[in-house]
């Protein structure tokens, strides 16, 4: 997949819908990302911290959003990428990642698009907001 050839302010990029997040995924991501915080893996530790259950690593959702970006743009064109974590992602949640172009600027001799990013769960909860800057070929 690649980005629509003519990006303009307001262009919505194709959304990325993620299957329900399983406990297995949390374990695989903990191993692969090195985030060994047991609150995402161990039910008893999560409950001791006042949570009803384990919940997904924020960085997992950030990685999903990054997939949306690299599906559309070669990664070497990604200049910056940042998110704020707004809400916890429970196990079995179904995140959808979206991006919309908010500006197109000339910076350091290249055309760059700024994208507003959002991850939303099926119940409408916004879990992540952020932005990315990509150079346009």
């Amino acid at each position: 997949m690649s980005a629509p050839s003519e990006l303009t302010v307001g262009t919505e990029l194709p959304a990325l819908k993620i299957d329900p997040i399983s406990r297995t995924t949390l374990s695989l991501f903990a191993g692969a990302s090195g985030d060994v915080n047991p609150i995402h893996l161990d039910h008893e530790i999560a409950q001791a911290a006042g949570m009803p259950d384990v919940f997904a690593q924020g960085m997992l959702s950030m990685a999903y959003l990054a997939r949306l970006l690299t599906d559309l743009f070669p990664q070497e064109q990604l200049r910056s990428y940042g998110v704020k974590f707004a809400a916890i992602t429970p196990v079995k949640a179904e995140p959808t990642c979206t991006a919309v172009v908010t500006s197109i600027d000339e910076v350091d001799g290249e055309r760059r698009a700024t994208l507003a990013l959002t991850v939303t769960l099926a119940d409408g909860t916004v879990t992540l907001t952020g932005d990315a800057v990509v150079a346009l070929a």
Partner: protein, 152 residues
Amino acid sequence: MPVSPDAIGMRLQPVSMDIERGRLAAFARATGSTDPVYSDLEAAKSAGHRDLPVPPTFLMAIEMEDPDPFKWIREVGIDMNYVLHGSQHYAYHRLAYAGERLTAASTITDVFSKKGGALEFVIKKTEITDETGGPVADLTQTIVVRNPGVGA
């Protein structure tokens, strides 16, 4: 317990990591990536890469190579059970590849509180460099500490 303001300026021990193809392929699998560029060397080379590229958010794994990556959090007086990841930002200088040895050097740059101390914020900046010392990416992380029963 309030986070010690002495933490500001604290430099963490740099951590280095050999970026391995197998680990990148595991990361691709864990994040549901179907783009073979991130897991198949031939696909990566066909796309013009010299090896498997390091995906945008994998760089945080470098610091996690430390045998006790959350030690500094305890040292500044934070209970890990009350820590939330507030924000994460990456500024990229270049694409990194499997086969490289990358180093993460972090500094605590700010500590502040909101809501009468009910929430505390710790800002950590991390420079990722290659074996020549050349910049790969700059990371900024906000850690939020919940202090139940404190403040308004």
